[in-house]
Symmetry: C2
Subunit: 220 residues, 2 copies
């Protein structure tokens, strides 16, 4: 009638054209020395939302990130000591905001690091399964969500945006059709600015207009 209760965090980012996930190296048995999702036990009188914030901070050093629930995993055999129920949470963050800040503030993890989702090491527990489920969900929801913009800097080019879509959907898109579609959605703000420091024609920058995005859904 009781179970151990943990939270695991699937934190995505986008860098160098690739979708990355943040992993931590465990410093505790079992799976000491293995890479795993940042995660830990929930305290007895702690709300789940508070636990998510605390644990994501302690394991990765990241503060003030809002995470969304993915699912519960509760296999009796997940852990040698018996059932540990884990509730997995996911979020998307901008790589530039955090690039030098990922560092565990607890001894339970030795280090934290970004891995391309297509080249993951072997993971502890059932963490690969958790990532697979979350990637599926991301793929399904991308068209109706702000997900691509949460992964990009405030100002971005259409090519960068297209790369995010391509990484998440795992397929190539046609440039002209992509631009037509994305501009028709009506929530991109065209800026009078272009990329700097590139050795080819500089691309125009765009911003995501949250207000217009929200309007599309509120009117129904």
């Amino acid at each position: 009638m009781h179970t151990h209760f943990t939270i695991d965090c699937v934190i995505y980012s986008f860098h160098e054209g690739q979708l990355k996930v943040l992993l931590t190296e465990r410093n505790e048995s079992p799976y000491s020395g293995w890479w795993a999702l940042p995660g830990f036990f929930v305290n007895k009188y702690e709300e789940m939302e508070d636990a998510v914030a605390r644990i994501s901070y302690e394991m990765t050093g990241l503060k003030d990130i809002f995470m969304e629930q993915l699912a519960a995993f509760a296999g009796v055999k997940r852990h040698p000591e018996g059932r540990i129920l884990t509730v997995a949470y996911t979020t998307l963050i901008r790589f530039d905001d955090v690039k030098n800040k990922v560092k565990p503030v607890t001894d339970y993890m030795r280090q934290a690091n970004w891995f391309s989702v297509s080249e993951l090491p072997e993971l502890a527990f059932d963490h690969q399964e958790i990532i697979n489920l979350s990637l599926d969900k991301l793929k399904r929801s991308i068209s109706y969500s702000t997900a691509p913009f949460e992964l990009l800097p405030d100002k971005f080019t259409l090519t960068q945006l297209q790369q995010v879509y391509e990484e998440i959907l795992r397929k190539k898109l046609d440039k002209r059709n992509f631009r037509k579609k994305i501009m028709n959605l009506g929530y991109l703000k065209e800026l009078n600015e272009v990329q700097q420091h590139v050795s080819y024609r500089a691309a125009r920058l765009y911003k995501f207009d949250k207000r217009k995005f929200a309007k599309l859904f509120s009117q129904e």
Copy 2:
């Protein structure tokens, strides 16, 4: 680091043109005498899937129903005794298959009964919230899922099918457009049979072709 762990079941059915959910009347404190989702504690060494099967059976008398995970709810204040983490599961069943079979086989519940989702009594715990979330999910997934067919008998009329869509989406649909769309999907089998015992023109019956439905997704 430990928590109580329960499963709650959201079981839908369709009857008399309405989407129904199966509730049980509690016989235990807290909320004794209140209507609640069928749910109970998971045993220590029990797999979550086994617990779902056992609990749905004990609370409602229904056997062999496959349930899908919805989400975890873990508010510290959900229960006077402290945190109880519940994982909610949902399923859809055919009313005709079960109409006289819903009866708890435990004393924890006094009775089980179907309620129209639009006329629910006040529910125990946060169960209304759980139902709301599951209705949202059902609405979002209806177009890509077998959900409507799981709620209908083996042979059904197009009007019945349309009613299921209308109930889940909570809006009226145009008959001609609905038929055009649903027939274009290509997984309805037209039978050489019609309704019996109706006092008006009998409608043609259709079957859902699982194989064709599955093909649509496997080819991608």
